[in-house]
């Protein structure tokens, strides 16, 4: 297992390197750089030039890349070009909020999707099934920014029972309960799409499992139908779900951009947008890299989880 993980990590390296190169090219193709953004009419071209020079913006692209990579290897992500804060800190501060929100959304989505998917499969082609299917389609079809705004309008503005955004109440710590309260709406928004997709997946998986011979075996042993579905079938049906949960990570990160923006959730997504708007290359690069690592890591974790859950598959 250890060697397996080590080997997988080794494969990450070229992939990540490729990603950073592509990334670097894309980011630097962008017209506009942070100096231009803040040039004051009073600032003379020489100062602007000096500033660019100081930030290394005049080097050839590959030199910039090598420099960046070099500092990266020392664990240094550099300094933000707009706020001069260390990128590592900027990004570091944002990881937890995004991870908590993402996990909350994932858990919420699964809590919704698994039971619904199973019920829908068990009641295949009944009204309940159609209802669940319809709901899941709506879940996948509704743009999340729209859902977010609508939820804010309903729950925060009209009913006033939930905060409109942010991660905690200003002034006063608020504590755990307060955080949960702030997390509800964004988590719902993020979870909706995932849940929609997962319901369909769980349903399909369950339908497949329900056809399997071993359920007939269990029934022929006199096992109660409840346990046939909830013990014998469920575990098999959920196994493939593990793999697709891993696939949600990139989607989750993407969805976070909009959701965090709407709900002022101070996570990776919001930072991405802000950094993009201010052409903060070091931050954008770091964010992309971290996101890529997160995606690759999630894939690896998925594989490990899967092999832990499915006795047929052994990695290593």
């Amino acid at each position: 297992m250890v060697t397996y993980i080590a080997r997988r990590l080794l494969i990450f390296i070229p992939v990540l390197l490729g990603i950073t190169i592509i990334n670097f090219i894309i980011v630097n193709m962008a017209p506009g750089n942070p100096v231009d953004m803040y040039i004051d009419p009073n600032m003379s071209p020489e100062i602007a030039e000096a500033k660019k020079e100081a930030l290394g913006l005049n080097d050839p692209l590959f030199v910039q890349y090598i420099k960046w990579l070099g500092t990266l290897l020392t664990g240094d992500l550099g300094y933000s070009m707009s706020s001069y804060a260390p990128v590592a800190r900027l990004v570091g501060e944002r990881i937890m909020p995004t991870v908590t929100l993402g996990l909350a959304a994932l858990v919420l989505a699964l809590l919704i999707a698994v039971p619904l998917g199973i019920i829908s499969a068990l009641k295949q082609n009944t009204k309940i099934d159609y209802l669940v299917t319809g709901l899941s389609f709506i879940g996948t079809s509704i743009p999340n920014f729209f859902l977010g705004l609508a939820l804010i309008y309903i729950f925060a503005v009209n009913l006033g029972i939930l905060p409109t955004g942010g991660m905690q109440k200003l002034g006063g710590d608020g504590g755990f309960g307060d955080r949960i309260l702030h997390m509800i709406l964004p988590a719902i928004v993020l979870a909706t799409g995932i849940a929609g997709r997962k319901v369909r997946y769980v349903r399909a998986s369950m339908l497949e499992v329900l056809k399997q011979d071993y359920l007939r075996t269990a029934r022929s042993k006199g096992v109660h139908e409840f346990w046939v579905t909830n013990k014998h079938a469920l575990r098999n049906a959920l196994l493939p779900v593990i793999t697709v949960v891993g696939l949600e990570i990139p989607i989750l990160l993407g969805g976070a951009i909009i959701t965090e923006q709407i709900f002022q959730w101070p996570g990776i997504g919001q930072l991405t947008l802000q950094s993009m708007m201010s052409r903060d290359y070091p931050t954008i690069m770091a964010l992309n890299l971290i996101a890529a690592i997160a995606v690759l890591g999630a894939n690896l974790l998925t594989d490990i989880l899967y092999s832990a859950a499915d006795p047929r598959i052994k990695v290593g």
């Binding site: 022929s220 042993k221 006199g222 096992v223 109660h224 014998h232 575990r235 098999n236 006795p311």
Partner: protein, 340 residues
């Protein structure tokens, strides 16, 4: 009425998208304690459905529309599901064709075995486990303690089928239904499994309903044989009578189709032309008449009954029953195919 199992004219139907299909149509037979009944017939003729009807495992779409199944004299056709669960696995148990898919891949052999023991024998923990290990040993699995904690994918097909047998016999059922238990296995492994079943049958006195399409297996194992065709029993006899003196043209055809290892090489094998008619579209009259070389006008028009021609040899054929109208066979157009 000391028969263990009495199946009386059952008719099993499935609801499908294209309407209702009758998979088993008026099947009756009996099975004495300790006896082995072979059921043979072509694919799709209703062998499995018959056995699943007995287990009442027809799923949501299937139901027994007519007839009665009595186990030890008790009618189980209308039994509540909970009572039926008591019977499954303890009084009647079943093993299936494909050992590769019949075991749940995510539970250990042990837990799948213990599950049924705990369910029916009212024992727990260590006792149950020990009993399970005993069962594994009984079905000829070496290192049973280790196998208990293995997952099914680690086992070969033959081993799995042994495990299935262990599960089936764990609660000492009076009736074991084996639905093509060796079809998926190699001949050498098949021989092992058949051997095992024989041995266990002697030890436990369990009655066996052995479903197969291999006449060799039937000849090897069965006391009595039922031949099914298109959802109906077409012939029933004790195994010697059947092989010596098959009466139904379908049975005769089947016997002729198998190449024998001993004896002379046939230039051509006898064969039954055509294929089984689909359930949704059964021909009128005798269901076999479309493929029968002896079919008469009557066969096309009137369905023959299943008649006992003495000593429990039952046949569903006008010709075999010596019906006067069918005495001189008039070939029916659709049956003139030359066998090749």
């Amino acid at each position: 009425m000391n028969d263990l199992l009495e199946v009386d004219g059952i008719e099993t139907v499935f609801r499908t998208e294209r309407g209702e299909v009758t998979s088993v149509d008026g099947v009756s037979f009996r099975l004495k304690a300790g006896e082995t009944l072979g059921i043979v017939g072509e694919s799709g003729c209703g062998k499995s459905v018959t056995s699943l009807s007995i287990m009442r495992l027809l799923g949501k779409t299937g139901s027994i529309r007519k007839g009665e199944i009595r186990l030890n004299g008790r009618n189980i056709t209308g039994l509540a599901e909970s009572a039926m669960r008591q019977i499954r696995g303890s009084e009647v148990s079943m093993i299936f064709q494909d050992p590769m898919t019949s075991l749940n891949p995510v539970f250990t052999i042990g837990s799948q075995l213990v599950e049924s023991i705990m369910l029916h024998l009212n024992v727990k923990g260590k006792t149950a486990r020990n009993h399970a290990i005993d069962m594994l040993r009984k079905v000829g699995i070496s290192r049973p303690e280790e196998i208990m904690d293995e997952y099914p994918h680690k086992l070969s097909g033959g081993m799995r089928q042994r495990v299935m047998i262990a599960i089936a016999l764990a609660c000492e059922p009076k009736l074991l239904i084996a639905d093509e238990p060796t079809t998926a296995l190699d001949v050498t492994i098949q021989a092992q499994i058949l051997d095992l079943m024989k041995k266990l049958r002697e030890e436990t006195g369990t009655a066996i309903m052995l479903i197969t399409h291999d006449l060799g297996v039937v000849a090897e194992m069965a006391d009595r044989v039922i031949v099914m065709y298109a959802g109906q029993v077409v012939e029933e006899a004790d195994v010697f009578t059947l092989f010596d003196k098959p009466l139904h043209p379908y049975t005769t055809g089947l016997m002729g189709s198998i190449p024998h290892l001993d004896g002379d090489d046939e230039e051509t094998l006898a064969s039954i032309p055509g294929t089984v008619p689909p359930l949704q579209n059964m021909p009128p009259g005798c269901r076999f008449h479309t493929r029968c070389p002896l079919a008469t006008e009557k066969c096309c028009a009137e369905a023959p009954p299943l008649l006992d021609l003495g000593e429990g040899h039952r046949v569903r054929c006008w010709v075999a029953q010596g019906d006067s109208e069918a005495a001189s066979p008039v070939p029916v157009s659709s049956a003139k195919g030359v066998t090749t």
